[in-house]
């Protein structure tokens, strides 16, 4: 009797590391396959040109930075829809503060914007109990409105070469600074999620909130903190946008929340909490950038790009979904 049960639990483990793992790793396979297809069909249009490849990194770094934090938010069973609008707002506040008080004041203003929004989102979600979906949906409008108001809907120029180099525009040799930001934050994010007790508590909160509370985890505090992390990452992304374009504009980051969530889910992070992988998220973000780039090189019109991108993302997410 016990043998047969051991066998059946054994097949469960096989299934987990076989089929389910295949699903979890679909992002890496998909990335390789799409890269290969583009390399073969678009080579004459300069797809493999190192400059083009680095451009993909430059275009996706901000999405990746926000998606790393979104991995924590989703793993904790929450969501943050305000990241795109917060990026726009932070780009404006940073640009304005640089104009007044220079580089450091600008950076401080940008980060303070992120903290302020995060505290607001976190308090509404954990103290009043409004679902984060609604809190951050409302914040999306508020952040955009504030950004439009304070900037009078016009671009705020940044005349500070050091800022522009550090936040987005510069490169060390051939390596863009944006790539360094992405890799450094990715490594930190990966270790925090997988190897710190904070990361473990995030996964526990999203995996089973009741059980986590019974185990002595302050799940409200965890949710509060992931929402702050997410807003700060969004603010940083906005600062990177501002540095790259040497100006702050409320439109920067507009609509990014969808790409950010798609990147995390493509990478294997569960929309329902409990599972998350930062490395998968970064590859997911790169894949979205890859697809955008390839579709442009193919000469598709913007309307066609939108349709093709949506279709590819749906396909990839459908393949990577865990079946219960």
């Amino acid at each position: 009797m016990s043998t047969s049960e051991n066998l059946s639990s054994g097949t469960g483990i096989v299934a987990r590391f076989g089929l389910a793992n295949w699903r979890q790793n679909i992002i890496y396979i998909g990335f390789a396959v799409i890269f290969l297809i583009f390399a073969l069909t678009l080579n004459d249009k300069g797809f493999l040109n190192p400059n083009n490849l680095l451009n993909i990194v430059r275009q996706t770094a901000m999405i990746a930075v926000m998606a790393i934090a979104m991995t924590f938010v989703l793993s904790a069973g929450e969501i943050d829809l305000s990241v795109g609008a917060v990026a726009g707002l932070a780009s404006v506040t940073t640009a304005m503060a640089i104009d007044v008080g220079g580089l450091f004041f600008g950076v401080a203003a940008g980060l303070a914007t992120g903290i302020a929004v995060g505290v607001f989102n976190g308090l509404l979600t954990t103290r009043i109990g409004i679902p984060s979906f609604l809190t951050t949906l409302a914040m999306m409008g508020i952040a955009k409105g504030v950004a439009m108001w304070v900037s009078d809907t016009s671009a705020v120029p940044i005349i500070e070469p050091a800022y522009s180099w550090l936040f987005g525009g510069g490169s060390i040799g051939i390596i863009p600074v944006l790539l360094i930001w992405m890799v450094v934050l990715g490594v930190i994010g990966h270790f925090v999620l997988k190897r710190t007790s904070f990361g473990r508590r995030v996964l526990a909160t999203g995996g089973g909130e009741t059980a986590a509370r019974y185990s002595g985890i302050d799940t409200s505090s965890i949710k509060f903190r992931v929402l702050i992390v997410s807003s700060m990452a969004a603010a940083l992304a906005g600062m990177l946008y501002a540095g790259r374009l040497q100006s702050g504009r409320f439109q920067l980051g507009e609509g990014d929340e969808l790409s950010v969530i798609a990147a995390a889910v493509l990478g294997g992070t569960s929309l329902f909490g409990g599972y998350g992988t930062v490395i998968g998220t970064i590859v997911g973000a790169l894949m979205i950038g890859l697809i955008n780039n390839g579709l442009i090189l193919m000469g598709l019109e913007f309307s066609q790009q939108l349709i093709a991108r949506g279709g590819i993302i749906i396909l990839a997410v459908a393949l990577s979904q865990k079946r219960s």
Binding site: M1, E5, R195, T196, G208, S215, G273
Partner: protein, 544 residues
């Protein structure tokens, strides 16, 4: 079980140290707890020693779960003192209880399915490397040592979501032990377990006992208690009845203490001999995917058949299979002599079968909607003309059921949630009667309603049968089944263990008109049959 001599593990720290015979692991005295006007506990004493397995027994409403919630710090008692391992607990709270060493094993409640076994055991107490990063390999090694020492066969690297029910439970207990729990509370631990998992649990519990852990074991299964427990405490109606070693408590004595003297109320409901019509519902060797197994059963027009058994015996599963909610794996269902295919609830409704489900709040009513809207919910197609609701017909249907069932509500437009439990239940019944079924299945129709409404519901069930319906009724309160039913089928592990015509359960030595004592005697007999069925089923499985 041939494992009496479990080697002493020297690795485990001596939990019994410093405890003398006079210190109880749990010492609760004079515990009083009222909920509004309801006296849940009326001065209960409860003592458990270190190194014993102590069974806590009692019928529904005896106060078992209340006293456990007091021990666990969920309920603050109105009066009484609590000492845990010699420490007097002054301000009782879940935290204070846990810090004093009490661990309640919830059914999988404290495990996170998306984390591994080792990660769960050491959640919030993770092993760290020198750099302060979590090191799961150390946790896995520690967990492996702990599981090996306690002789529990669970892979620390396995994901909890992939474990079977038995392994999950063992993991939960190990987690509690690793947090220095000295009093373990297990509430119906065997319900979700297979026979072999129960054996493994027992071996494990004996091992913990030998290490000085006090174990409180709550179960309705007296055969299990007789095998695992050293002593038992029986509660009834919020009072302590007896605490004695199991050797002084044979099963029939336990049953006597649990049932006690029946309070009046239910015995008032007159039991009438049914005039049986033709067979309306016939089950021939019906099995579901897991439960029920191989059920053959006939319910006639005008008859009430009861399903008795413990939680998990397959009663509700059988109801769901007949009502088309769960699939039929094999066997045949006949309605009025004609075989019917029931693949979905609509098929059952078309065959004029109605199920009044067990969880009233989630499966039965929409509390915020009006009485009329709830009653008409299942028959909207009949009350509509090309999808447009005939509001006049809806009102008439509602009014008819309100009158027919004497539902006490200010009007048909009041929200169902404003009604009392008994009247809410009548709304659910009315909803199905509006569809005019021939066969009515009632799953725990009296759960959570007061005694007065209970006897009203029972009377209603009798009336429905008399009006020509075939009724199948599930209840965990045996006295209700005995009052309502013409025949009672005892179920155990998904199978029908025996069928008892109601009059066979009467005691010929008692006067027939002494309904109160007759009911009490019948309840003891039926309880005995249920326990016997458990014993036989258990053996049958072990020898397979």
């Amino acid at each position: 079980m041939g494992q009496g001599a479990i080697p002493d593990s020297s690795g485990q720290k001596d939990r019994g140290a410093g405890m003398t015979g006079t210190t109880h692991a749990v010492d609760m005295r004079g515990i009083v707890k009222h909920f509004g006007g309801v006296k849940a506990l009326q001065g209960v004493d409860f003592q458990v020693e270190a190194g014993e397995i102590h069974a806590l027994l009692g019928g529904n409403g005896a106060g078992k779960s209340t006293i456990l919630k007091v021990l666990n710090g969920v309920h603050v008692p109105d009066e009484g003192t609590i000492e845990i391992c010699g420490t007097k607990i002054i301000a009782m709270s879940p935290e204070a209880s846990r810090d004093a060493g009490v661990a309640m094993i919830f059914q999988e409640m404290s495990l996170i399915p998306t984390l591994s076994v080792a990660q769960n055991v050491y959640l919030t107490r993770e092993a760290k490397t020198g750099a302060g990063l979590i090191d799961d390999r150390v946790a896995e090694r520690k967990a492996k040592e702990l599981f090996d020492m306690l002789e529990v066969d669970v892979d620390p690297r396995a994901l909890v979501g992939d474990l079977g029910a038995g392994q999950k439970q063992l993991t939960e207990i190990v987690k509690a032990i690793s947090q220095d729990a000295r009093v373990l509370v297990l509430d119906e631990p065997s319900t979700a377990l297979s026979v072999s998992d129960v054996e493994r649990l027992f071996v494990f519990l004996r091992k913990l006992k030998s290490q000085g852990v006090a174990i409180i074991y709550v179960s309705h299964r007296m055969d299990e208690i007789a095998r695992i427990a050293d002593r038992a405490t029986i509660l009834r109606d919020g009072r302590h009845v007896i605490t004695a070693p199991l050797s002084e408590l044979p099963i029939d004595t336990m049953i006597e203490h649990i049932v006690g003297k029946r309070s009046k109320g239910l015995s008032d409901v007159a039991r009438e001999s049914a005039e049986l019509g033709e067979a309306l519902l016939e089950l021939v060797n019906v099995s579901g995917a897991h439960k029920p197994q191989d059920i053959s059963l006939t319910v006639h027009r005008g008859e009430v058949v009861g399903l008795a058994g413990l939680l998990g015996s397959g009663r509700s599963s059988l109801a769901r299979v007949i009502a088309g909610i769960d699939p039929v794996a094999s066997g045949e269902i006949r309605v009025a002599g004609t075989p019917v295919q029931i693949n979905k609830p609509k098929d059952a409704i078309d065959a004029r079968i109605a199920l009044v489900p067990e969880a009233r709040a989630t499966q039965g009513i929409i509390g915020a909607h009006s009485v009329a809207s709830n009653i008409s919910m299942a028959v909207l197609d009949h009350l509509s003309n090309r999808s447009v609701m005939n509001t006049q017909a809806v009102r008439e249907t509602a009014d008819h059921q309100i009158k027919h069932l004497s539902i006490k509500t200010a009007s048909r437009d009041h929200a169902v949630s404003t009604l009392s439990g008994g009247n809410q239940q009548k709304v659910v019944i009315g909803k199905w009667l509006a569809a005019d079924p021939d066969i009515l299945i009632l799953d725990e129709p009296t759960a959570g309603i007061d005694i007065g409404s209970k006897s009203e519901i029972i009377r209603l069930v009798r009336d429905l049968a008399k009006s020509g319906k075939a009724v199948l009724m599930i209840s965990s309160e045996l006295s209700e089944l005995l009052t309502a039913c013409d025949r009672i089928v005892v179920m155990s592990e998904g199978r029908a263990a025996g069928t008892y015509p109601r009059h066979d359960l009467d005691d010929p030595n008692l006067p027939a008109d002494d309904t109160m004592h007759q009911l009490q005697a019948a309840e003891q007999k039926l309880q005995f049959h249920i326990q016997e069925a458990l014993k036989h089923q258990g053996h049958a499985h072990v020898h397979q």
